[in-house]
Chain length 249, copies 2
């Protein structure tokens, strides 16, 4: 049975301020928990009877057995998923020299948790180890983000930095790519193995300060080229196409 | 001022059953409404004072001026967007011969409204005129789908059909592509201008009945190939990469 204090702790972790103070976060759903439990220290895990056997070998922490109704009551998501884990955040300290020789994604104020989670999942798929985010990008430890990563949050390092400052340093020794309506067709561009791909905010794109650090402007052409269509692609689908272009070569 | 009956109508249109019976749907947000209002008959449009001038030339229907609070109260979305339109659905009758010579997307039980909306937006970007959906795919007239299409719902035809039946007919005269973990690398495949691209359910992928209609199995390789990563990509990002591959050639 879940104690009152455990429920209180789970619910307080809906707030970023508390996640930062306690250095804890919440993962929900048996699939996500199964994937990430081996990578994080757990404070405790709550699940229904049927999952105890499966989760036991993955953690040294306490496993609390609760009813579906109890878990629903404690859940931070609209559709509760039968299991909740309270885990200790683990963030490697950021070291800009770690990015050398690698492809990195930079996010400039990506605000939708679903988009951030999907982009982290894409980075995992395409072997991008590091994501650097402006400080006003959504929090990777938000339960909706954790869920949307489908476990990739355990394998991709997400850093919050002063983005214009870090990029203005990086652009001295590697290409910095960004997508713009006035960019060059991505299909025809030479794309390097080392570099940064900047993706911008859902409504406003890449900010002026970050734009100044972009050395290569890319464009994902619509089809037939020039036809009147939507003004832009969703940021996670644009990231998908861009990373696929970098990796297929 | 919004009447009680207008509020009632808006809220009843959260339900698919009512949308089907009344042949109406709700679009929210000034940006979406601005984009799609010229393409649909409006029953009425509600907005705050500041938008009346802008919306007036786009419709012959009544424009109701309401306060932000009234609109929030009537809104079907979590974050209300300052304007709501009640519009008449318009669906071209489905004619399988219309798909000849074109690239079409088929959705097999795509259930998340955000995914469906994002895929319709992608189809608009990449010049895919028709999307054919299994009957248990999310409803295109769901307000969350309409919003996620960013106006593309006005330009892409979405049809609900007996998917295995339609595909088993189509495969006689055009290639039917689907993404599978055991497929061939998409980057190396010959991809035609005429054909159907099938995308499957978020959790279960493509169903057995539909699988039997797929003539070409594709795979989006992860990087480096074979590395242990997430099991799969999100359906909308997989669609993005697939359509980009078809259109770049």
């Amino acid at each position: 049975m879940l104690t009152k204090n455990q429920i209180k702790l789970i619910q307080s972790l809906a707030r970023k301020k508390v996640r930062d103070e306690e250095s804890l976060f919440v993962a929900e759903g048996i699939k996500t928990i199964r994937d990430i439990l081996p990578y994080f220290d757990a404070q405790f895990v709550v699940c229904t009877e049927e999952y105890v056997h499966e989760l036991k070998p993955l953690t040294k922490s306490e496993i609390v057995v609760a009813t579906k109704q109890e878990i629903e009551k404690a859940s931070l998501l609209q559709a509760s998923q039968g299991a909740i884990a309270v885990l200790r955040k683990s963030t490697k300290p950021f070291d800009v020299s770690e990015l050398k020789g690698k492809l990195t994604v930079a996010l400039d104020t990506v605000q939708d948790p679903g988009n951030l989670g999907t982009i982290i999942r894409l980075c995992d798929w395409f072997g991008v180890e590091n994501v650097i985010c402006s400080r006003d990008t959504a929090d990777v430890w938000n339960p909706k983000v954790v869920q949307a990563t489908m476990g990739a949050v355990a394998r991709v390092n997400v850093h919050y930095v002063d983005l214009p400052q870090v990029l203005s340093e990086l652009k001295n020794y590697m290409p910095v790519y960004g997508t713009f309506l006035e960019g060059k067709t991505i299909y025809d561009m030479e794309l390097s193995h080392e570099g940064v791909v900047v993706m911008g905010n859902e409504g406003n794109g890449i900010s002026d300060a970050v734009k100044q650090c972009v050395s290569h402007k890319l464009f994902i052409p619509n089809f037939p080229l020039g036809r009147t269509t939507s003004e832009s692609l969703n940021v996670s689908t644009a990231t998908a196409i861009t990373l696929s272009e970098f990796r297929r070569r």
